[in-house]
């Protein structure tokens, strides 16, 4: 398994954990308290911070131990890695566009700010996870 594939797997794990923690903190409040009183701002900030910390904490040991980085050539990505990266990011870009459009429609119809922020955050994290999942699938399946 190449270095970039390991990084993608680490990002996938960190993203799923951070998003799951956020959803477990916020979703149970929906319906039980008025939308305006749902505590979502600090869990959102914390979830983002948690994702970054987990990613950094995983990537540093990977980078320290991975042998490909220590190769004399110093090249960590090849043509296939770049093609996989491009395909994953293109998927993510399209999903992000769709969800931003959905958020715009919500604002247009005067939906509470809570739902607009959720669409952007869950959509942003979701599109990132889709991007990584496409990359991991391409690595495993062959691209």
């Amino acid at each position: 398994m190449g270095f970039l594939e390991k990084i993608n797997l680490a990002a996938l794990g960190a993203g799923i954990l951070a998003l799951a923690w956020y959803l477990f903190s916020v979703v149970p409040q929906i319906g039980s308290v008025p939308v305006a009183e749902i505590a979502w701002k600090w869990p959102m900030g914390l979830s983002l911070g948690l994702f970054l910390v987990m990613l950094i904490a995983t990537v540093i040991p990977l980078a320290m131990t991975d042998q490909t980085i220590r190769d004399e050539s110093g090249i960590i990505d090849d043509e296939r890695d770049r093609a996989i990266e491009l395909r994953g990011d293109a998927w993510s870009g399209n999903v992000m566009h769709l969800l931003a459009f959905l958020a715009l429609i919500l604002v247009f119809f005067d939906a509470p700010g809570f739902w607009v922020a959720q669409t952007l955050y869950v959509g942003g994290m979701g599109s990132g996870l889709i991007s990584i999942a496409v990359k991991v699938a391409d690595y495993r399946r062959g691209a």
């Binding site: 990011d89 998927w91 870009g93 992000m96 566009h97 931003a100 459009f101 715009l104 700010g113 922020a117």
Partner: protein
């Protein structure tokens, strides 16, 4: 020049032109506080609808004109190069959209007026489309 390249140029010009008008004519409302937040939302919402309608109608007309000018090219399927150019554009546009989505989320977090959030998201969609269009234009001209 292929049908896909001409289509990209048409969409780039249309998006650039229509949304330059939109943001230039809404600058007073968006930046100067020329109207109350409620009125600003109503005004910009109405303009947004007009711009979306204008883009749809103008793009249909533009694509019909491109197809009439070169009928043989209109039925061409996207080849490997077209797909690569498209993906590179989607990738770059996606990065821009992600930055604006983060800004929109931040604006919602600090309870900014709705018209500002709506226009931040719209600006993101427009900016990402323009980046995507320019990326495709450059890739088609320079080669990938």
């Amino acid at each position: 020049m292929s049908f896909h390249e001409k289509s990209n140029i048409a969409m780039l010009l249309l998006t650039g032109g229509v949304y330059t008008w939109y943001f230039a004519s809404s600058a007073g409302v968006l930046l100067g506080g020329a109207a109350s937040p409620e009125l600003a939302l109503v005004v910009t919402n109405a303009k947004m609808l007009v711009t979306v309608g204008a883009i749809i109608i103008a793009s249909i007309i533009a694509h019909i004109a491109i197809a009439i000018a070169a009928p043989s090219e209109a039925n061409e399927n996207a080849d490997e190069r077209d797909k690569l150019v498209e993906m590179r554009g989607d990738q770059r546009g996606g990065y821009v959209m992600a930055v604006f989505a983060l800004m929109g989320m931040g604006a919602a977090m600090i309870a900014q007026p709705y018209y500002l959030i709506a226009n931040l998201i719209l600006a993101g969609l427009v900016a990402s489309e323009l980046v995507k269009g320019v990326s495709k234009l450059v890739d088609y001209r320079r080669g990938v």
